[in-house]
Amino acid sequence: MTVADTCVHPYPAGDSSLRRMTFEARELGFDTIVVPDGTPLISSGVRVIPAALIAEESVRAVSGQIKKRENGLSLVMVNAGENGFNRAVLSLKGVHVLRNLHLTRKQSFNHICARLAADRGVAVDLDLYPVIHATGRTRQRVLVRFGELIRIYSRYRFPLTLSSNARSVLDLRSVEEITLLCSLFGMEEDDVQAALSTVGDLLNPPGPVRVVA
């Protein structure tokens, strides 16, 4: 079963080399990490999956970026926006993950988006960086937002992913620590395990059995 951190930023975006990141990730219990604009490889026994991070404000621009950057090997991750934008993005072919929902307004991801995400197998990413590093009102807002998402998730069961958004090996957290941190916003241990293993299914979605010969 895949245990993946869905977004880490090695050198030069961060202060740790990719090899050191994979080295530490393996010690912390991961077997897969997702790296924006990386190349697919296996280092220290950890699989590196490249990702295309798309941060556009219009659906047309997102669609253009997907066409340009989708190669079947990369995870396509799109930054969330308003409700209409999110619904349109969830309907686009080739999108794997909708991320940064904690930076959007409360109604940006409602039950319609949840149903759409569940039907199309698009994952919603929960970024643990602000839970670890932010304090005060900022962290409170993130915890409330994640709590709301978990409530919707428990009803519609769309795929979830968890990311540390680590820019340093010091930002990485172990699977056990992530499970404890997720309990802060009401995520059960089984759901955490499922979220950590989602990435493996996103690139190779399970389909019906086909007769090939």
Binding site: S17, R19, F23, V131, I132, L170, S174, E177, L180
Partner: protein, 162 residues
Amino acid sequence: MKPLPPTLRTKKRYILAGIEPSGAGADQKDLYYAITNAVTTLFGDVRAAAISPAVISSGPDYVIVRCTRGGEQDLRIALSTVTVSGDVRIVLRPRATAGTLHALRRRLPQERPAEPDQPQEVHFGGRLYDARRYQGQKVDVIEKGIKRQELLFLTQDDLEEL
């Protein structure tokens, strides 16, 4: 003064956490402030008072923290949110929880971590760094200079590729 009988004493739990990067030079007092601050900002004063975190002992790569029984899970969560001790960037990785210090000290690594070798000068990305090699593949490099020295976490292979 007659000591309280054991049944009336507050039950404690002890948590062993690793400090990374090893030998970062985190002061015990700074660790205490960092941990209590993390507990308070995450759970508030009331819960922090109930947890009552206290640093019992620390070494270059570990810290033992005490709390009241029932508060160990919250304390472990709070330890995960510690990112700075004093001016030093660190991460605390909870390793074990025990009901007595004696039990926890048995969980301490018997061998001291290998001290990093003498710093060596290396060039990386066109800049000059002091490299400290640890046991295994890990190499931490710190930029040479007098202010805003950049700290990078690399491996031996990264340096050999240059």
